[in-house]
């Protein structure tokens, strides 16, 4: 057991140092067919617990430049009405004018503008414009390349996970959920298939 743990720790550290490696250049499309893609959010409920939800429908693509990863780019487009917090009444409320106002703003988009590498831990900051509920603001995603390589079916895949924190009021979301719930954490975890 101990040996196994050690082995996986070594494997993990190897994987993270090999992030942003010299191979894997190309343009990738998110695997929205096989649904190896997730946009999750979490927000505090009253300061007592976490509420998790997700967006079920979105597409995206990225260009990975192995020679200079900071020249890579990514764009994502989300159908806001696909919000899903596992509770129909709440989802209906989230789609309403109090939150996402999906009738008026059916799409949320993110387009990267520049990427800053943090070579020490194999992570990167992806800075770009997020448009949500009709408001466009610059946000920074803390991204990590999780892995890449041939898949068993003749394709080539690369996966990332990125996080950021948004203040609801910054995007014009009027609902007041209380002082503990002014910010929401977004997590995007995706696998791209090289085209």
């Amino acid at each position: 057991m101990k040996k196994q743990l050690l082995a996986s720790a070594v494997a993990l550290s190897l994987a993270s140092t090999s992030a942003f490696a010299e191979s894997g250049s190309g343009s990738y499309k998110f695997d929205d067919q096989g649904e190896h893609q997730f946009i999750m959010f979490k927000i505090s409920h009253l300061g007592y617990s976490w509420l998790y939800g997700r967006f079920n429908e979105f597409t995206g693509e990225f260009n990975y430049n192995a020679e200079s990863p900071e020249a890579s780019s990514v764009s994502v487009s989300i159908d806001t009405d696909s919000v899903d917090s596992n509770h129909a009444e709440r989802d209906k409320h989230l789609r309403s004018e109090d939150f996402l106002f999906v009738d008026e703003f059916p799409q949320a988009t993110f387009t990267s503008k520049r990427i800053v590498l943090d070579d020490d831990n194999g992570e990167a900051e992806i800075i770009g414009d997020l448009t949500l509920r009709g408001v466009t603001r610059e946000v920074t995603l803390e991204a990590e390349l999780l892995g890449h390589g041939d898949d068993p079916w003749g394709g080539y895949r690369m996966g990332f996970e990125a996080e950021t924190e948004l203040r609801l009021a910054d995007f014009g979301i009027p609902m007041n959920l209380g002082p503990a719930s002014e910010k929401v954490e977004m997590i995007i975890s995706v696998e791209g298939v090289r085209q």
Binding site: D81, H87, A88, E89, D91, R95, M175, N176, G178
Partner: protein, 184 residues
């Protein structure tokens, strides 16, 4: 007064159900309109929808009883003084009122049960979901519910104005019949 209706007058049961439904429909409308604007920290934020849903499902039950009772009883004939087009229009209005009440109630039920969960009626009993989880059903049901509620209240106001017109202008028995009063 007789419980059952006759060909000439409404019985107590139909009169009572008519007014109970009328009060409940308006009560649900105003409660519904009020509850969707409550702040998250309002003490009524959770209880107002609970009461709205509970009363709504009880009203659905009452409406089924009312409809069955209507079929089991003779329909009081229209007043002789009513013109043909008035009778026809009143029948259409009544049919649409029934349709809007049922559609409004069922669509409301479908909002809350669209994720497969049941609705607790005052914690007395639970009404299960019949649809199970259906993606975004709550959106469609919600739009139908809102549309029905406003149409129903609008038509009910017209219905009431028509009754008052018969009472005050025509001075006939239309409203008195539904109040269980004897002919004047």
């Amino acid at each position: 007064m007789e419980l059952r209706s006759t060909h000439s007058r409404y019985g107590l049961a139909q009169i009572a159900m008519h007014w109970l439904v009328a009060i409940t429909v308006f009560g649900l409308f105003f409660l519904g309109d009020y509850m969707v604007d409550l702040g998250y920290y309002d003490p009524w934020y959770r209880s107002a929808p609970h009461v709205h849903k509970s009363i709504g499902l009880l009203l659905l039950l009452l409406m089924v009883v009312r409809l069955v009772w209507r079929w089991l009883n003779p329909a009081p004939a229209p007043l002789a003084s009513h013109r043909q087009w008035e009778v026809k229009l009143a029948h259409i209005a009544h049919a649409v009122l029934y349709l809007l009440i049922f559609t409004g109630l069922v669509s409301g039920y479908l909002i809350s049960t669209a994720d497969g969960s049941s609705i607790a009626v005052f914690d007395w009993f639970e009404v299960p979901s019949v649809t199970g989880q259906v993606k975004q059903l709550e959106e469609l049901a919600g739009k139908v519910h809102r549309w029905c509620a406003w149409s129903l209240v609008g038509l009910a106001v017209l219905h009431a104005l028509a009754a008052i017109k018969h009472h005050v202008v025509d001075r006939d028995e239309t409203l008195r019949r539904m109040l269980g009063l004897s002919a004047r």
